[in-house]
Symmetry: C2
Subunit: 233 residues, 2 copies
């Protein structure tokens, strides 16, 4: 039985994923031989910060959070990965241990590619390495932006920004509800604040008719007003 029969979803990576479009036909063949796919449920840990990982991952389905553990075990969420994203290459390429813990937010299937093979591709395929280079430089730009926001904006402004960002990244279902379900604590972990502050501000937004709330379902009503809140300067 071929692997692709048991886990057909994994074909996604090679056919449609933007990253692997830069590989040649032969390289794709090698890849499908060495890769391994796995399903994960919400809460599963892919890897822990401080560990060596030995490979990179590609998301064929689901949502992943990357966070650092801080004071009192408080999670600081750095970013998310979703369908089509690759992650885990940072520590491989910088030759450092993983700098974030990676957990599943929405049940996922991930493909794993051993670093030896990944590095071979990087070394031999210029288009592929250029793409990864571009990716890491984009992420660096995002991180720089985030440093400024967190240093200079207040919690209200940052929360509004995060809501818009989640909207851009994950979109909404047919009812206009954000396609990502986060606990208030996780939201606080992105914004960089206390859970209670997120709750208070969300219900303030609700009162002002900017969002609708139903447990973890968040619907953005007035994105223009959210934009006005973040962009105060």
């Amino acid at each position: 039985m071929k692997k692709s029969d048991s886990l057909p979803v994994c074909d996604f990576c090679f056919k449609y994923n933007e990253t692997f479009r830069h590989l040649t036909k032969d390289e794709i063949d090698i890849l499908s031989y060495v890769k391994s796919c796995n399903n994960y449920k919400r809460g599963d840990t892919v890897y822990h910060e401080g560990n060596r990982t030995g490979g990179i991952y590609c998301v064929s389905e689901g949502i992943i959070k990357h966070y650092k553990t801080g004071i009192d075990g408080k999670e600081q969420i750095i970013r998310f990965s979703k369908k089509g994203d690759v992650f885990g290459f940072r520590s491989i390429l910088s030759e450092e241990p993983a700098c974030t813990t990676t957990k599943v937010i929405k049940k996922a299937s991930l493909c794993y590619i051993p670093s030896t093979q990944f590095l071979k591709f990087i070394r031999t395929n210029t288009n592929f390495s250029m793409f990864i280079l571009k990716l890491s430089c984009r992420e660096l730009g995002d991180a720089n932006q985030y440093i400024m926001d967190i240093a200079q904006k207040n919690v209200r402004e940052r929360l509004a920004e995060i809501l818009l960002l989640l909207n851009d990244n994950f979109g909404t279902d047919k009812n206009g509800v954000l396609n990502i379900s986060l606990t208030r604590e996780e939201l606080a972990g992105i914004v960089g604040t206390a859970t209670e502050s997120v709750i208070r501000l969300l219900s303030e937004f609700k009162k002002d008719g900017i969002v609708k709330l139903n447990r973890r379902k968040i619907k953005l009503i007035d994105t223009k007003r959210l934009k006005k809140i973040t962009d105060v300067y």
Copy 2:
């Protein structure tokens, strides 16, 4: 007259700079043909955020700050570059405008390499591109760490951390004074706080015998105590 006679300092890049050690002899020859060197004094701007840059820079002497301009024009300093560092490749490789403004802190000589040539090297020399890849991934790790610090540590803890970081990066002169001279405002721009807060905390550190202050000269007396202050968790 050869270029190296008028600006001999520029030989540094090719002979000793870690980045360019990955180029071949032939490539170095090309490089010395296309590069151009310039001297800058404190306060000079190398490029502005939002602009296209057209090339990368290598520091043969001096110190450079990279910052984003935020609310009310408040500078958020993201990082520094010093002798031997290259910068400006992020925006070239991500194909975005510069995300930071780059200014001279301590008078500098910089070599400029047009992006066309830089990209050729990246495309044709695997060792070189691997090195740049590693560099950007390291920077990304640093940025992630900084996000967590700024989100979770208080100003006192962050200031202590920055002092130690400046000590690691720039060292001290024979009197133990930090080899980088920053205004209180610039320090505040790194820590992500108000100038007055930096001043108050510095004089508190002084009172406790942790640092000695003489205008912009900062001498770290008790680095262990600084470490203890940052590492509270």
